[in-house]
């Protein structure tokens, strides 16, 4: 038997707590850099001013350790567990406890209701977060926490296209989603696109795509080319910062693909707003 590495559940709780509360006050550095760059390329004077306000907002949030946005999101946690890791304690409970403590530590807003049919009660501590598990080789445990705002999530879409709709089908889906999202979803956006898999897998791919670092290339040259073309097309829509008009609608488009059924062509488009909150750690 190979040697197992033991990680205490309490260590996972602590990590999730800090990732969640910190991501709500510190915007992703790559996203901030993208807005700083956009501030010099944005054609609308009001758009430049709005980008300036967003950057000032990040500064206030970071200095005062106050949430950058009052919607502190639906916590989404991606967990990659090395197959040589043994968790001492209950892993699922440890993650939810981390979100609970992070909500308290960060003075976050309780934004989840227990029952979607009656819309009550508010769980008060942003649990239960959505958790995606994956098993990978090795003895590390990777945690990524996203605080996903409701406004941009509401404007995300899933299309069950036909195989012959081809690349243009993807283009139209992305353009339509971003155009309909407009000012409601708080642009400038990062756009996560899932292509392939099943109905459920495709949406997960789109969410996962949001975690990629802005400026990084897609390992698949065809997808990389499409990402850059789409970003250019989206910035011609005129939506602009906060939807008040301009040339900065999306600062990145990221595509994640998965093998697909011969009869199917699902495309999911997940929108990330300017309160871009995500942090990860390797334990």
């Amino acid at each position: 038997m190979g040697s197992m590495r033991t990680i205490a559940a309490s260590e996972i709780t602590k990590a999730v707590r800090d990732l969640y509360s910190t991501c709500c006050v510190e915007v992703r550095p790559d996203y901030k850099a993208a807005l700083e760059k956009a501030r010099s390329t944005e054609v609308s004077p009001l758009g430049r001013q709005i980008l300036g306000t967003m950057l000032e907002n990040y500064k206030i949030a970071e200095t005062e350790r106050s949430p950058m946005c009052q919607d502190t999101g639906f916590p989404v946690v991606f967990v990659e567990i090395g197959q040589d890791v043994r968790v001492d304690g209950d892993l699922k409970d440890a993650i939810q406890e981390g979100l609970r403590q992070g909500t308290k530590q960060g003075f976050l807003r309780g934004s989840l209701v227990r029952d979607p049919l009656t819309r009550s009660p508010n769980t008060g501590d942003n649990t239960p977060g959505i958790v995606h598990f994956d098993i990978v080789p090795g003895d590390k445990l990777r945690l990524d926490v996203l605080a996903k705002g409701g406004g941009s999530e509401n404007k995300s879409r899933l299309y069950m296209l036909k195989p012959n709709d081809g690349i243009d089908g993807i283009r139209n889906a992305v353009r339509e989603t971003v155009s309909l999202a407009g000012p409601d979803a708080c642009p400038p956006f990062v756009v996560g696109v899932g292509v392939g898999g099943t109905f459920d897998k495709c949406a997960e791919l789109a969410k996962k795509a949001l975690m990629r670092i802005i400026g990084s290339s897609n390992a698949d040259p065809a997808a990389d080319k499409l990402e850059k073309e789409l970003e250019g097309e989206l910035n011609k829509l005129g939506v602009g910062p906060q939807g008040m008009g301009g040339s900065t609608t999306a600062v990145a488009v990221f595509i994640e693909t998965h093998p697909v059924h011969i009869a199917s062509f699902p495309v999911a488009v997940n929108i990330q707003c300017n309160a871009n909150r995500h942090r990860g750690i390797d334990l």
């Binding site: 709005i50 950058m68 009052q70 000012p183 708080c186 011609k236 005129g238 939807g243 008040m244």
Partner: protein, 189 residues
Amino acid sequence: MIRREGDFVRVTPPLTDEEVLELRAGDPVRITGTLLTGRDAAHRKLNDLIKANQPLPVDLKGQIIYYVGPTPPKPGQVIGSAGPTTGGRMDSTTELLLRAGLKGAIGKGERGAATREAFQKHRAVYFGAIGGSGAYLAKRITAQEIIAYPELGTEAIRRLTVEDFPVVVINDAHGADFYEEGRKKYAVT
């Protein structure tokens, strides 16, 4: 009260019909004075009362409602982060409040055609604030008080005192839409 001053229009509620008509889509506005708050749950409750001919817990006449659900304040803070939520979610519950005398709403995002018409018909305006900038906007809020539905927590109706609160007129009482104008102006075809 409204007053044009330099690049801004200064607004202090309550507003009259005549004052509302002076506001134009795209006007940068600074609000000083008091705002009411309310989002989905409070709107549902107010609509139920109006439909049942019951008195409201708050006088809407001439007032501006801010669609916001703030984060809890940290020690020493007046209010936590307090940016706008999506206005379109209040579309189905807005007209009755306008009938009760509401003169303005602050949110982010587009309103439906029927709601835009209702703003026009009742001589009211929809202002847009910058979504996602809750820490920045909280700095312009100097006091808060819960005045109805404390059981709703973040969704309770509050009275906020604001100073130079920055918004832009999106839908004016003449039917113009600043989001639409902005997009048209900068779209590359």
